[in-house]
């Protein structure tokens, strides 16, 4: 940007460079005061971080949990290697584990096939008893009886026992007090893992796996911490290598490293001071900030090195570099920050945190690269070898583009258009299970469970009769039974737990276990009294409150499904609502569950992020127009700014085609990054044109000046986001991959389509007089070449 390049160093810049020690001390003071906040950082693995406090689905879900009982749970999946649950040994194990599981911290209920409250008629009495009460009494006949009952009981099949009788589940419901959320859930998960290990040792012939919401939260926290302990160091290493190669200067690399470390420390410190928890999305803030901070350092150091090669003293070279780079680095930092700040349009708080923290990081990166970096450089004994021969590869490339401008433009636009046309093939699909990579134990265990018993997707339906004790009314019960049947017929359904089954079974029991009497009673009093009797027969922890509200005016149907994506969940909800509207309009139904919450937030997030992208686009284009002092170029810049996102998302439809919570933010966050390339290219082009050069000459000029720098920074950013693809979270991995794709496409567009476009359409004759001394300008601008 020649507007900035000609600027002389400001007074503060002299001050920083002349008093490096004091500058360093002041920087350290700033870093420590912000960085101290890192001591307040904490991981929050609770899945609820993805939802704002006023999220309507979260509120509905919490209300349902308060009316009935909580459904936070940890499940032990028990798979005997023999493939047979109904053996003496396995039943013994389940019985023992059921007892032991009652010791789970905060547990309020344990459900298994052995403590299932089996009801049967005995003479004229109703016997309500654990299906396996005394394991000592187990003999082949008793085992066969238990098998018969368990595999025919709708409350158990595909809920606690696989329909093939090969896998069984012990489900522990926990009620976390939520006084200290950071220790309560982990305590439960820890206990579950201990119990798993203990029983695995005692029963080596069975596999025990863990699932449930508590384990989901645990997985979020555990893998997030893994990520930060593996990906961040990996990123550091990669950056060190890249800097060493690019700068060919050990001291320059060290100075950049200092900037990166202080930037991360200060950024995370801000997070700590503000009480923003580290969550699955924000755990990668260091990696992203590091990636983007490197670019600032590369620009400043490479300008410095070039100036020194051209014969300037180190001190002079520092001023030259600052004079050239402060404003461009500020502009690119600002556009990147705007891109990330637009994440504030997101419906999910941790994504907003991610955006804000990276934006803060950009601010620090800018601040430290123009203060700490020059101060360090002025202290360091940097020496530069003889002038290296500039490569003319860029000139040759520029000439090729000029020669083939029309085919390049046409082909390029056709390819981009082809890719962009694929964008609608993407589907918004949020499956919280798919947030985890298939390499994680949690995902493997959950997939195993889905394969053998049931998926983790669940929906809870609260059916309101509208009057006290209305659930006992025959018509209500008939509707409930019809809905239960309908729900069981849905192809996605694995299991439905409904009160209508219990009532029908009680009716059978009260008629001497006559199978013909497995039907709903026709009088309200009968239903009410059966239920009262059943309720009064239940042991500790196993009440009906999880199915019936205290007023007995509403009942909850809990269904589990094959693991579904958000659009399938929303479609299913719609079908259920339609069923009630046509079949039972007098019943007021509300649907909620964690699955439903993720589905809705994914959907809403998509539309709000489209708003966010539009907002970022307008703001960034305005900033560009202002920086380039040309509305025309600002308008042209829309092309290379929008196309990469379109092409990238088009390509994504061929890679995966699923847009989740994290991918919905890629469009706006890449906008801020890709715009940097455009800024650099257009400003050089514009500069040459103003010097009176033809568009061909201006394109060659731009390629020579920034071509290599664009390649390098793009490489750094692609590598940085590619590191994220190694995350345990498919969520972060996908975001890293798509961002790398978009940024790479942006480079291709900037180096091919943009110049071709300018060559074809920017044919106006040069306005200014031909410059007499193009070479001096060239020298200064060439500084941005690394």
């Amino acid at each position: 940007m020649q507007n900035f390049n000609s600027a002389a160093p400001s007074r503060w810049q002299y001050w920083v460079v002349e008093r490096p020690i004091i500058s360093l001390l002041i920087t350290m003071l700033i870093v420590f005061s912000f960085g101290f906040g890192t001591s307040k950082l904490f991981f929050d693995g609770d899945y609820r971080v993805f939802f704002g406090d006023d999220n309507p689905q979260l509120l509905a879900f919490e209300q349902m949990q308060n009316v009935y009982s909580k459904s936070d749970s940890v499940s032990f999946i028990i798979a005997p290697k023999s493939g047979k649950v109904f053996t003496r040994e396995t039943l013994n194990q389940v019985h023992e584990m059921t007892e032991a599981a009652w010791q789970t911290p905060y547990s309020t209920r344990v459900d298994s096939i052995t403590n299932y409250q089996h009801t049967q008629a005995e003479a004229d009495d109703l016997l309500v008893e654990d299906l396996l009460l005394e394991p000592e009494t187990l003999d082949p006949a008793k085992i066969e009886q238990i098998r018969q009952i368990a595999l025919t009981e709708p409350n158990l099949v595909n809920k606690l026992i696989g329909s093939a009788g090969d896998v069984t589940i012990i489900n522990v419901t926990v009620q976390l007090p939520e006084i200290d959320p950071l220790t309560e859930g982990p305590a439960v998960a820890h206990f579950a893992k201990e119990l798993q290990a203990q029983f695995h040792q005692r029963y080596p012939d069975t596999e025990i796996r863990l699932s449930g919401l508590v384990m989901l939260n645990d997985a979020f926290a555990t893998y997030a911490q893994n990520d930060s302990s593996t990906l961040v160091p990996a990123m550091f290493l990669l950056i060190l290598i890249m800097l060493a190669i690019l700068l060919r200067s050990v001291l320059g690399t060290l100075a950049s490293l200092a900037v990166i470390i202080t930037t991360i420390a200060a950024t995370l410190g801000v997070s700590g001071w503000l009480g923003i928890a580290l969550t699955t999305p924000t755990v990668n803030v260091p990696t992203i900030v590091m990636t983007l901070a490197v670019a600032d350092c590369v620009h400043i150091i490479s300008s410095l090195l070039l100036a020194m090669r051209n014969g300037q003293t180190k001190q002079q070279a520092i001023y030259t570099s600052l004079a050239q780079n402060v404003k461009p680095v500020f502009i690119t930092s600002a556009t990147t920050a705007i891109g990330f700040l637009s994440l504030n349009f997101s419906d999910s708080p941790p994504l907003r945190d991610l955006g804000n923290l990276v934006a803060v990081g950009m601010l620090f990166a800018f601040l430290f690269s123009v203060t700490l970096l020059p101060a360090l450089l002025s202290l360091m004994p940097i020496k530069v070898a003889a002038k290296t021969k500039p490569s003319n590869a860029m000139t040759r490339f520029a000439n090729w583009v000029i020669a083939k401008q029309k085919p390049v433009l046409v082909c390029g636009l056709l390819i981009v258009a082809g890719l962009a046309s694929q964008v609608p093939n993407n589907q918004v699909n949020d499956d919280s299970l798919k947030y985890f990579s298939t390499d994680t134990t949690f995902r493997q265990d959950s997939d195993y469970m889905a394969q053998h018993i049931s998926g983790m997707t669940s929906l809870e339906f609260s059916l309101e009769s509208g009057q006290s004790n209305g659930i006992n009314h025959p018509e209500f019960l008939a509707d409930l039974a019809a809905f239960t049947t309908w729900l069981r017929q849905q192809p996605e359904t694995d299991h439905v737990s409904s009160l209508s089954d219990t009532v029908a079974r009680l009716n059978k029991n009260m008629h001497g276990d006559d199978p013909a009497q497995y039907r709903l009673p026709t009088q309200q009093e009968l239903a009410a009294q059966y239920l009262l009797m059943y309720e009064m027969s239940l042991p500790y922890g196993l009440d009906l409150n999880n199915q019936i509200n205290i007023d007995k005016s509403a009942t909850r149907v809990v269904a589990t499904f094959k693991n579904l994506g958000s659009n399938e969940i929303l479609a299913l909800e719609q079908r259920a609502n339609d069923w009630f509207a046509t079949q039972a309009p007098h019943i007021k139904v509300s649907i909620s569950s964690t699955s439903s919450m993720f589905a809705h937030v994914g959907e809403r997030n998509m539309s709000s992020m489209l708003m966010g992208t539009a907002f970022a686009l307008v703001l960034i284009s305005a900033l560009l127009g202002f920086a380039l002092r040309s509305w025309r170029l600002g308008f042209i810049s829309l092309l290379p700014n929008i196309l990469p996102g379109l092409a990238g998302f088009g390509l994504w439809s061929l890679v995966s085609g699923e847009i989740n919570l994290a991918l919905s933010i890629v469009s706006s966050l890449t906008l801020g990054i890709v715009v940097d390339d455009t800024v650099h290219f257009l400003s050089k082009y514009q500069h040459a044109r103003k010097q009176g050069q033809s568009s061909e000459q201006a394109v060659i000029y731009a390629f020579n000046n920034v071509g290599r720098a664009l390649l390098i920074t793009t490489l750094v950013i692609c590598v940085g986001f590619a590191v994220l693809t190694q995350s345990n979270f498919a969520l972060n991995a996908d975001m890293g991959l798509l961002t790398a794709i978009v940024v790479f496409i942006a480079l291709v567009i900037d180096l091919l389509i943009l110049p071709a476009f300018l060559l074809v359409f920017d044919r106006t004759p040069a306005t200014a007089k031909p410059s007499t001394e193009p070479s001096t300008q060239l020298n200064i601008n060439a500084a941005t070449q690394a």
Binding site: S107, S468, M536, P539, D543
Partner: protein
């Protein structure tokens, strides 16, 4: 034999040390060990509540869930004091209307499981209810059967924990460990007022030793009764029992009205074959 002698000696020494330790601390003038002290307080509590013979009351049961919604049930309760064993009780439900006339008869026992029957008017039948549910909830409330059954000294092992003041009343704090393996609790802690030996508060700890519920007794009222041995004695009954479940956030209140004593009830009124006519 030799071994048991050693154990005995060792045990005696241990008791001696404990006593010494207590004496050293000089916290109380009592030199009894905590178990004996707890037991004697609870024996006195039972002694003071013996001789009422029978009682009747109507009550409202008010359920509250974590969302703050409430629901009310009306019932009547008849109790018969049984010497040497747990009491007998008969509850008749008046509302909700769809269970009106349902009667629940319970014979509580000290050492064995309680006997329970339920009369269902819609079916016109009496059904025995499984007896392992003593830790289960009563009528969907936060009260377990065992919370409502009669207090008998041999049901628990006691330990005196100290003195505390509750709402201006001096109390003894006593730990109760259930003897019954089917109890839902690992322990209870009760606060007994020193004046009248009434329970003012009880805390229940679940099987994993976490605090589960707190029961508070309030609005105590004295009911004078002529006991069988001719003396006139006052029996204290709380008109309000509030229990709160700390784990689920649910709560239940029992509000007693029209307590009447010695109403002429006899064994015959607590007979399962007469449940049909209970009203």
């Amino acid at each position: 034999m030799k071994q048991s002698m050693t154990t005995l000696l060792f045990g005696a020494t241990l008791v001696g040390f404990t006593t010494l330790a207590v004496a050293d601390q000089g916290t109380t003038e009592q030199t009894d060990d905590p178990a004996a002290r707890g037991l004697s307080i609870m024996q006195e509590r039972k002694a003071r509540d013996t001789g009422w013979q029978s009682s009747e009351a109507s009550l409202e049961m008010l359920l509250t869930n974590a969302q703050g919604q409430t629901s009310s049930r009306q019932l009547r309760m008849k109790n018969l004091e049984v010497a040497g064993d747990g009491d007998k009780s008969l509850s008749i439900f008046d509302t909700p209307l769809d269970v009106k006339g349902t009667a629940f008869l319970s014979f509580s026992h000290v050492n064995t499981a309680d006997d329970q029957w339920l009369y269902l008017p819609a079916l016109k039948r009496v059904k025995r209810i499984s007896s392992r549910n003593k830790s289960g909830p009563f009528m969907g409330s936060e009260f377990a059967y065992e919370d409502l059954s009669s207090f008998e000294v041999p049901k628990y092992q006691y330990r005196y924990l100290g003195e505390e003041e509750i709402a201006g009343q001096a109390t003894w704090k006593i730990e109760n460990i259930p003897n019954d393996e089917y109890s839902g609790y690992s322990k209870l802690v009760s606060w007994i007022d020193q004046q009248e030996y009434r329970v003012l508060k009880t805390q229940y700890y679940d099987r994993k030793s976490a605090l589960l519920k707190t029961l508070q007794f309030s609005d105590y009222q004295a009911h004078p009764v002529d006991t069988p041995n001719g003396e006139r004695k006052s029996f204290w009954r709380a008109n309000q029992l509030s229990i709160e479940n700390h784990q689920t956030g649910k709560a239940t209140q029992l509000i007693f009205k029209e307590y009447r004593f010695n109403t002429g009830l006899s064994e015959a009124d607590f007979n399962k074959s007469k449940l049909k006519r209970a009203r």
